[in-house]
């Protein structure tokens, strides 16, 4: 035999979807919200985003270089983390904040635990909470149209009545990527279209949040109050882009429903009972921590073994 052919175990063909392609679609889905953020807050928002992305990608590159691991930045996951982190920052932060945040997200939360797929916490949110605790002033200083102001959600907390239309379109103060409900939902539609995410987590999260919120607030069914909370703050961004992060969400559909309800429960508690108006980031981070437990209790019964439960246990 002059030449031998390749051999391998089955199957011999593979699907089109790759990690890189998934991340690329996520990046594209984030662009409407980013674009709106830049339009809303001006060029400074763009620089915050760029610094954040650059810091994430560079951190991963240098970490791989130092630890002599194969270079992994081409999977684009660092770009996604960078964008998400930038979108979670106010446009007015000094540039060292996104740089430091990117470093923390990639090195501490992701790479030290083994890189992509091994982190137990969403890197962007981990970094955001780190920054929020370290620089509370900078991180809650929302400049909009040249003036610092309270976010609509904070206004609601203090009994104010912001304009609901503006909240849905996004012409409000807030972090760069969270203000426009429309842009976020548009991005989510792109992801759903390509089969990147489905509505299991986002849907149960948002619905259960609404129910728990009304229950805890004790105002009865107050429609405008509910709408303020759905459109305001980081709920939409969190529900569609961060709670759905593959690495830090449960594996099975059943687990994802439990996870979504748990997130809704926590977010409602934080928003109603905590002095700060926001709660999505903390809720998702705490949710991340119980994911391994959820995975353990939601292992499905294999096909054909459902009824023979007792026999199988012996």
């Amino acid at each position: 035999m002059s030449n031998l052919y390749n051999v391998s175990s089955t199957p011999h063909i593979r699907g089109k979807m790759s990690t890189q392609l998934i991340m690329l679609i996520v990046v594209i889905s984030l662009l409407p919200a980013c674009g709106f953020g830049v339009y809303n807050f001006g060029l400074r928002a763009l620089f915050v985003l760029l610094f954040s992305v650059a810091s994430c990608v560079l951190s991963e590159y240098v970490f791989n270089l130092i630890t002599k691991r194969p270079n992994s930045i081409s999977d684009l996951s660092a770009v996604v983390t960078g964008l998400l982190l930038g979108m979670n920052l106010p446009s007015s932060v000094p540039y060292f904040v996104p740089v430091l945040g990117g470093f923390f997200a990639i090195i501490v939360v992701k790479m030290l635990f083994g890189g992509l797929g091994q982190n137990f916490m969403n890197p962007a949110l981990g970094a955001r909470c780190f920054l929020l605790i370290s620089f509370p002033k900078l991180m809650t200083d929302f400049v909009y149209n040249g003036a610092s102001g309270a976010t609509p959600l904070a206004q609601v907390k203090n009994g104010g009545c912001p304009d609901l239309h503006k909240m849905i379109i996004g012409n409000i103060p807030g972090t760069i990527g969270e203000t426009s409900m429309i842009a976020i939902v548009l991005g989510a539609c792109i992801m759903i279209m390509f089969g990147i995410i489905d509505l299991t987590i986002s849907g149960t999260y948002i619905v259960s949040f609404g129910i728990f919120l009304l229950a805890f607030a004790g105002k009865g069914f107050d429609y405008t109050f509910l709408c303020y909370h759905l459109a305001g703050g980081g709920l939409m961004l969190g529900a569609f882009f961060m709670a759905t992060d593959y690495v830090t969400r449960p594996y099975t559909k059943k687990g994802q429903v439990i996870y979504g309800i748990f997130l809704g429960f926590l977010t409602a508690i934080f928003r109603v009972f905590s002095p700060s108006a926001e709660g999505v980031s903390y809720a998702i981070i705490i949710g991340n921590l119980i994911v391994p437990l959820i995975d353990r209790i939601t292992v499905p019964k294999p096909f054909g073994c459902e009824k023979t439960k007792k026999e199988g246990a012996k």
């Binding site: 035999m1 031998l4 052919y5 390749n6 051999v7 391998s8 175990s9 089955t10 199957p11 011999h12 063909i13 593979r14 699907g15 979807m17 790759s18 990690t19 392609l21 998934i22 992994s72 999977d75 996951s77 083994g114 890189g115 992509l116 797929g117 091994q118 593959y246 690495v247 830090t248 969400r249 594996y251 099975t252 292992v299 499905p300 019964k301 294999p302 096909f303 054909g304 073994c305 459902e306 009824k307 023979t308």
Partner: protein, 438 residues
């Protein structure tokens, strides 16, 4: 659209257009034919011929080595050259009877001359066993064993697996189109073996022309039904097929008979007809020679024992040098490193591809996307199961249902991290099954 199916599964590029419109051509083999003694599941057959014996086409050259075994017949007339080690599809060197073709194609006496009406249930099963008929979909389980369950009255469905869900394969499709009468007659013989049974021809709905044709032909049989199924891989996997047809579920510890079912491949059913009615043992089978590296993809009726490289020449040779050559379909077939191996009763295709996805893509880390769990027809969590297999954690592997895997490969197909999930799980399953046997 409301068609019966199962949960999970994938939709790979099916490539059937390459060969689906090519009528079956009869193939005349070359000088030497090789008959591996073990072409089926169970005990290997025992050779009953000696060197320099002259045999005829349709003469038994190896007898069954036990109840779960099948005899082997010469597919051409010629002279036995001896028993030699020769390479087979799996890559092993195994004992093969070598037959030199004299190209006269003299036929031996039929193995059955009794009229169907006069034959008892045991007579029919006896002929099926004698004809060396095995599951021709790939597994190669002796058919007469399937037809003799413990309680034959408990069998309610005889299902013919016409799904052909493997991409590229068109052998069953051509067989259905060209010999529908034999298929349906064969099924009615099978159904007659079981008092309470009815026949189901389960066809994927990408072959609606077949569905129409055989529905028309099956009209006169009140106990035979044609059931179109949703086109999805692995629709033709036995457990998934039974579920799609009857909504009954079986697991790895059960046989189809436990759910009141007998499942056979199209070619197997036609072979039953040929054995019982025409007295012909299993000597030939349909092999699809296809793939983007092939000049002229075709469906051949090939005498068992033919060397693959001869089929390649008959299909016009390579258009471009292939990267990967597979015996069977791309999802579950065996990759060949050489074409110097014989066609067996269970070979369904020679697939030559210019691209090898497996060597092209690099494995990366799992990102926990859950796609493998979504497509797994056995409803496992392949990501976890494969991890336990890699870590050789037997306890957790079994706990997470590793033995329930049907080895369809859907998980590896969808994995965006290109992990070899099916490979890990398959290797561990083999170890565990071997341990169980002890």
């Amino acid at each position: 659209m409301g068609r019966n199916t199962f949960k999970g599964g994938i939709h790979p590029y099916d490539g059937k257009d390459l060969s689906k419109d090519k009528p079956i051509e009869s193939f005349k083999p070359g000088k030497l034919l090789y008959y591996p003694l073990s072409q089926h599941i169970g005990a290997p057959a025992k050779a009953i011929v000696n060197k320099d014996d002259r045999v005829l086409r349709g003469q038994m050259i190896a007898e069954a080595g036990g109840f779960v075994s099948a005899p082997i017949y010469a597919s051409v007339s010629g002279v036995i050259k001896g028993i030699e080690k020769h390479r087979v599809v799996s890559g092993d060197m195994v004992d093969c009877i070598v037959l030199e073709n004299d190209e006269k194609y003299e036929e031996a006496e039929p193995i059955n001359t009794a009229k169907l009406e006069d034959m008892s249930r045991d007579d029919i099963i006896g002929v099926v066993g004698k004809a060396g008929i095995i599951g021709m979909g790939g597994a190669g389980f002796p058919t007469h064993v399937k037809l003799s369950p413990k309680d034959s009255d408990a069998i309610e469905y005889v299902i013919v697996n016409c799904a052909e869900c493997e991409p590229y394969l068109t052998s069953d499709y051509r067989k259905m189109l060209e010999e529908p009468d034999k298929l349906i007659k064969g099924l009615s013989i099978e159904v007659s073996l079981f008092k309470n049974a009815k026949g189901i021809l389960a066809v994927e709905d990408n072959k609606m022309d077949c569905v129409e044709l055989i529905t028309e032909k099956a009209k006169e049989y009140s106990n035979i039904e044609v059931l179109p199924l949703k086109t999805k891989y692995p629709q033709g996997s036995e457990r998934q097929l039974i579920y799609a047809c009857t909504k009954r579920k079986i697991n790895s510890k059960m046989l189809p008979a436990d759910a009141g079912c007998v499942v056979n491949n199209v070619d197997t059913v036609i072979s039953i007809y040929k054995a019982v009615v025409e007295g012909k043992p299993l000597m030939d089978r349909i092999v699809t020679v296809t793939g983007d590296a092939i000049n002229n993809p075709k469906n051949f009726e090939v005498p068992v024992g033919t060397i693959y490289s001869e089929l390649l020449e008959a299909a016009g040779g390579f258009k471009t040098e292939p990267k990967k050559v597979i015996s069977g379909g791309p999802m579950m077939g065996m990759a060949l490193f050489t074409l110097d191996v014989p066609v067996t009763k269970a070979s369904s295709a020679l697939l030559c591809m210019t691209k090898d996805d497996v060597s092209e893509f690099k494995q990366t880390q799992c990102i926990n996307c859950g796609r493998c769990a979504q497509v797994c027809p056995s409803r496992l969590l392949p990501g976890f199961v494969a991890d336990y297999a890699d870590a050789y954690d037997e306890e957790m592997f079994l706990k997470y249902g590793g033995l329930e895997c049907v080895e369809c490969g859907s998980c590896s197909y969808v994995c965006p991290a290109r992990k070899h999930l099916a490979q890990s799980i398959k290797s561990m399953r083999k170890i565990q099954l071997a341990k169980k046997k002890k």
